[in-house]
Symmetry: C2
């Protein structure tokens, strides 16, 4: 019986330019990528806010995936959060050209009563004070995971550190892990983060894959070796969606479960970067996803390789 | 019965500065790191040149490892090849401060008769014209591997491409792979390199580990998660030494053999970066090396984790 996942984060309209094309006001946001990805594996309950300008067809994308949208507030007269970014030849790093918070300026997450006993909570990248407000509204979840970004490390470090004491797993990218700890060496970063509260940290490294640390375990997974990456936007949230979706589906949170879940996250991320917005993952059917999952087992297997 | 390995490359005196210390005229060079590392697993036959100033105790380091030094020329009156480099906070990239070719300016590799039927040949990083001269002197080796560097890609691309048509495996670092192919994407780099001749390419990625491509297989291994790296000099050659030493010891050159050999290479490299020159690996005994080998199996294993 899969566990439902509560996800709170941003739903956005993204305008993105990469060396391979452009997208304007495309469906984006941390909670969008996460929810779509996780919903391929487990039921998802979304809490977020959009403006009155948010296109109905975008809502339909999530509704079709059976994401529970009871917590999606529509701010009358407000404009949806917008992000404009650019990727250069080096697809590892986004350059933010513009951020319009719009409805997020006054957003306060309200967790619907029927979501409050969600066993798994994913706090996608938003202001850590809002992430904390979410936690204060839920009852005894089995597993709490969160993500964050440079901005909050820079301007809300106190709130973020307070939050970290309450979460089981932090997902964070490599540059953010360095910023958060002031360390360059990744193992040292991980050790410091594990002292801040989380018992597990998953470090996302773009084309280098992802690594996971607990106080006693280390695991590393490469990224899927793609020759064409059109748009890396949302890769980290999609990865987290696959990871958490897989954990929720299996209902186990031990080392092996997390390792397998990381593969699932990497599979979903490998599809998302192949096209703009959610298109790459939307196109990938169950057979294609299962094939890449098996590929990952092959890529990392030594000796008794699985075929 | 382990296969003997013929290695041709540089033996040098390195002067290195890293954020963690300095070393002056330390034992270094591509063939030195390779030979020491490989000799922990298989017999090594070294062909290189040093000057009359080369310290006897450095020769003893290799002799004690039973490296066959019959091919080590001592150029009377000549000075040993010297490299001076520096690593900044980002330990991934060396800044070359000075290179004195000295005896390498006139070096012509002469392969002693008793080395000419070596079943495995490793052409460590030297001028590709000299690497080719080595190949012309050996008889039907079972496996030929080579390494190279930015300099040769820039100034001797023709000779390098001619050589690549004759080698089975290229070991190369990530930046060099990009320079050689003009591609940024690593999978695209690998595909291009595989078109140049080698049936297999092993791409060294520093703290990100190493990846291996054939036309049909992909394998990736993380680096050992060390908190303290004192000097990355020689990590690539030490990795290659462990890789080739392991292949030679087992006498098998299939996909699984290469995967296990990559672990061996990564283990040796993990020790070399913990201290200057060869010290880190010299200190590591068989038990410590075996422990890290098992650690690597754990780091990458999904499901049936080995303990």
């Amino acid at each position: 019986m899969p566990h439902p996942i509560l996800c709170v984060g941003s739903v956005a309209l993204d305008t993105i330019e990469t060396p391979f094309g452009k997208a304007r006001d495309a469906l984006g946001g941390s909670a969008t990528y996460f929810s779509y990805s996780a919903s391929l594996l487990s039921p998802v309950r979304l809490v977020a806010v959009v403006g009155a300008d948010f296109p109905r067809e975008h809502v339909e994308v999530l509704r079709k995936r059976k994401v529970d949208l009871s917590g999606l507030q529509v701010a009358a007269g407000g404009r949806t959060f917008r992000w404009q970014g650019k990727f250069g030849e080096n697809l590892n790093e986004a350059i933010t050209l513009r951020t319009d918070l719009n409805v997020f300026e006054t957003f306060r997450p309200h967790i619907p009563e029927k979501f409050r006993d969600s066993p798994i909570v994913f706090l996608a990248n938003i202001d850590p004070e809002l992430q904390m407000e979410v936690l204060s509204q839920v009852r005894r979840p089995k597993l709490v995971l969160c993500d964050t970004m440079n901005l909050w490390i820079e301007i809300k470090l106190g709130a973020l550190r307070k939050l970290l004491r309450k979460v089981d797993v932090l997902t964070i990218n490599e540059g953010e892990a360095r910023l958060l700890t002031g360390k360059l060496n990744l193992a040292a970063c991980a050790r410091d983060i594990l002292k801040m509260g989380p018992g597990r940290v998953v470090i996302k490294r773009g084309e280098y894959g992802a690594t996971m640390f607990t106080r006693s375990e280390f695991f590393a997974l490469p990224a899927y070796p793609l020759e064409e990456i059109r748009d890396p936007t949302g890769a980290g949230d999609t990865f987290a969606g696959g990871l958490v979706g897989d954990l929720a589906r299996n209902g186990r949170f031990g080392e092996d479960a997390f390792r397998r879940a990381m593969i699932r996250g990497s599979v979903h991320a490998s599809f998302i970067v192949e096209d703009f917005s959610l298109q790459g993952l939307r196109r990938a059917g169950p057979a294609a996803r299962a094939r890449r999952y098996r590929d990952f087992l092959c890529f990392t297997s030594v000796g008794g390789r699985l075929r």
